[in-house]
Symmetry: C2
Subunit: 540 residues, 2 copies
């Protein structure tokens, strides 16, 4: 991964010509070059590991797996949120580790944790480093140093239980590697977060992630059956039983633990037979409300597609505005505008996966609901185009960041009954906060994960950057949005996790007593407080 952005240097950073006009129209933007500093100009913490600490770590994993060169440290200084990239591009490497330590297996993880507990060194587990909530940066309060624990060498062989449709995957596999290993057996995990190309199995589990197909395949917390955690105080191995009434679900205490309790070394997940057919369609709804009602009806009737994504009118406008004039997207856009007949239409993407007959039947069974709610088909081209580009967002962000554009996302979930009010409240909060700073934004939103009792909302804000106050600008918007979320008792995060960004609001979500319960677990499993300090649980 490039230290200043997304992907490797082999990737081109795409800049769609249409984007320029859209940005001028929507946020009164004009081009401004904001390149990253040179690698050598990134300022790193001066604190280093003691010779003894370094030696203990080398003993644990071997000299060649303790790296403290500049590139290694800078590359592990931040995750991949907008503010992370702002900071590192500006030369702020203050959250870099003293070293990057890569254990090869559970016993080496345990040895690293023992060394760090003994030396009071903070340990930040790091898989693909794609956190957008500050989950992988170091926080150095009350510690004698900080390392990144790189999980990418945790690549023990994949275990397949075909009869039970279970796969035991090591934490260090990234999305394509995990999916590739399963496809070799005709299986799939069906887990495709936007970070899929880089994020790891351990990261999926540690952050309770959801992916673009999770309406059909389930969130990662619905897929995990068993897992193994190495904590400073010991190890926990949860057996992959299909269900249990043996007390509180320990599994659910470790899924989403974000490295604050220990290191997840492997997980046993539910897998499925790889689909032999896929059908992707684009539809236009006359309004966001109509689309949401159609989605609610589908999921509550047990007929949800594998992917169901509904853009609000702003995101719809943005999607087609970004599309090049000769692309299928532009063609669908014209169809959409005609279909909407002067109203502000909303784009929906629906996809079904499975065997060809099931896909045909399920797509057919959704038709009546879609039509009842006024949906008009836009053909399969826009859908296929969305699918082809669905991991491209972060590359585009790099291009925007290089041109003085604020672009950031946040997400939440709530009940169906509160969805319209929450959509309005969060959108208003973002628009209000950024307009107040003189940078009126484009705020776009989509529903992308359907549940019987509610759905997610995913917001994107785009605005001119406020030169010299870029971090404060987004912080104000984020605070306003999160206050709107907690005021309605929606969740502070549907799939991005808590990390450092949401930690201050966790108490608003789970209450003081709930927080005390989690703190008690933390103190028992990590008595020295070395595991990913400052993440998940707010400072006490």
């Amino acid at each position: 991964m490039r230290w200043w952005g997304w992907g490797s240097d082999a990737h081109a950073t795409r800049w769609p010509p249409a984007a320029e006009r859209l940005l001028r129209d929507e946020i009164a933007w004009s081009p401004r070059a904001t390149p990253p500093v040179a690698l050598d100009d990134v300022a790193l913490p001066t604190q280093g590991l003691s010779a003894r600490a370094r030696e203990r770590l080398c003993d644990a994993v071997g000299d060649e797996h303790v790296r403290d060169d500049r590139l290694a440290r800078v590359s592990h200084a931040v995750g991949r949120s907008y503010t992370d990239l702002l900071r590192i591009r500006s030369g702020d490497g203050s959250t870099a580790p003293d070293a990057v330590v890569a254990p090869a297996d559970g016993p080496q993880v345990a040895a690293v944790l023992a060394a760090c507990a003994g030396e009071r060194i903070a340990v930040v587990p790091f898989g693909g480093g794609t956190s957008v909530v500050g989950g992988v940066e170091t926080v150095r309060d009350e510690v004698a140093g900080a390392i990144t624990l790189d999980t990418r060498r945790l690549t023990a062989p994949v275990g397949i239980d075909r009869a039970s449709l279970l796969a035991t995957l090591p934490a260090g596999l990234d999305g394509p590697a995990a999916e590739g290993a399963l496809r070799a057996h005709g299986l799939t995990l069906g887990h495709f977060p936007q970070s899929y190309e880089h994020a790891t199995v351990g990261g999926f589990v540690a952050t309770r992630s959801a992916g673009q197909n999770s309406t059909g395949y389930g969130r990662v917390d619905e897929l995990v059956r068993g897992l193994h955690l190495v904590a400073p105080a010991g190890e926990i191995d949860v057996a992959p039983v299909p269900a249990s009434a043996a007390g509180p679900a320990l599994r659910e205490l470790l899924v989403g633990s974000e490295g604050a309790l220990g290191v997840i070394t492997r997980a046993t997940l539910r897998v499925r037979r790889a689909p032999s057919a896929t059908r992707t369609q684009a539809w236009a709804f006359p309004s966001f409300a109509a689309g949401a009602e159609a989605f609610r009806e589908l999921v509550q009737a047990g007929r949800a597609p594998t992917i169901a994504r509904l853009s609000d009118e702003h995101e719809t406008r943005m999607t087609f505005g970004m599309a090049a004039s000769d692309s299928p997207g532009r063609h669908a856009g014209r169809l959409l505008l005609r279909a909407a007949a002067g109203r502000a239409p909303c784009l929906a993407i629906l996809a079904w996966e499975g065997d060809p007959r099931a896909v045909r039947l399920r797509a057919w069974a959704a038709l009546r609901t879609l039509r009842t709610h006024g949906a008009v088909p836009l053909g399969s081209e826009a859908g296929t185009r969305w699918r082809a580009g669905r991991f491209q967002g972060p590359y585009l962000r790099d291009a925007l960041l290089a041109r003085g554009v604020l672009v950031e996302t946040l997400e939440t979930a709530t009940t169906w009954s509160d969805l319209p009010a929450l959509h309005a409240a969060v959108g208003d909060a973002l628009r209000g906060a950024l307009s107040d700073r003189g940078t009126p934004p484009l705020v776009a939103c989509h529903v992308s994960h359907l549940y019987a009792t509610g759905a997610s909302l995913y917001f994107t804000a785009i605005a001119r950057q406020e030169p010299g106050a870029e971090l404060e600008q987004w912080r104000a918007a984020k605070e306003a949005a999160t206050e709107a979320i907690v005021a309605r008792r929606a969740t502070i995060t549907h799939h991005h996790a808590v990390g450092r960004a949401h930690a201050p609001w966790l108490e608003r979500e789970i209450g003081a007593t709930g927080l005390a319960a989690l703190r008690a677990v933390k103190e028992r499993l990590d008595p020295a407080g070395i595991m990913n300090p400052g993440k998940l649980l707010p400072a006490g």
Copy 2:
């Protein structure tokens, strides 16, 4: 509830004439009268509440809701396991509380807990009192007294969010009351454990229960979205969001907490539209293995029925042996024996619920799988008969207990790949342990809850009681069975919970570090250690 058995005195205790022959044939039984002692002969603990403690409790809930008469104490001395009933019928009331205290709402619950924490009085939450794992008896180590906290007055109005298909139900409603309240809105919880007639919403949630329809409707842990807990250290209110990535799932720490962390006062659960059609069918498989394979194929293809129950050959023989000679069951039994053509056939009950068209389609879609695995239809009579009698087991048990028969159940769950080996190992353990004591049993088993990755196994053991050593007799069998379960890393309980019976094995299931994590939560939420001591967590 009768203090010595199941149901109220209005219920007749059924004794099917065919049972007599079956018991003579299978377990060499001959009738022996083993009636309960008189109420006045039940021995109660002499320890009582101090005058000050009693006064504080009366202040909290009102004098009339603090009962310490003999009937109240004896009625709350035990749950409803075989050994519970053995003990109370023999006059052993040593696990009775000093008083039964019934708060009316959350603040009264908090007041009761505060009084008990101050006076070092153990608090045993008690709903329907149907625990079969010793979950509702008092354990008096290191306390100055013990009360039952009767949750039946927690009956705040039911809240319905129709758009989100969510219902907020107070803890004190029993199964029929909860279901009745929902049916008035055209909704259903679909939760029908065998204890349904008496068990409460709070008990469902506190024990992670599953019901007979849970393959279709989901276990209670899959239905709970939000809940409210009153703990000695404070209250936790989990908002009913559809999904969240905000750290470990606090909800999953409270579901299944068995009164050891606090008192669940209400829960918000996923509900469904009440079904307008039901189809129940009986089928015969040529073997247990063939039936299990058919069930696996159905659930992994997303085509599981609402109810899917497969008896092994022993349970099949027992079911039809118990049936009266002129009943539809006997008729189906003849069909079954003919269909099996000399082999040992296995009975399967399948039921579908929903709207009539969906029921028809789903039942039809299962046909090919059933036939591929050799299933032969037995018509709808045996299925309907099973459905009519499905809450009758505990009444029949009373009749067996009065005639010198050991009858007890235990349950577990494992992956599909290990199901055959676990079925054999637990059956062998039960048969071996009881045969070793000179009382060879009938051990019957069924699969009744299907998951994509595995299934439950539910065992029933029937044997002649060992006069004078009835408790030791079952303890030996239970220990042998549970050792077989933990040796294979199956779960010690699929839906009965941990209670006192399984607590000694919890560490084998979740490990020392897992147990330490739960203990840490317990100590934080219940620092005085008054909440349901001796249950869930083994003595430290």
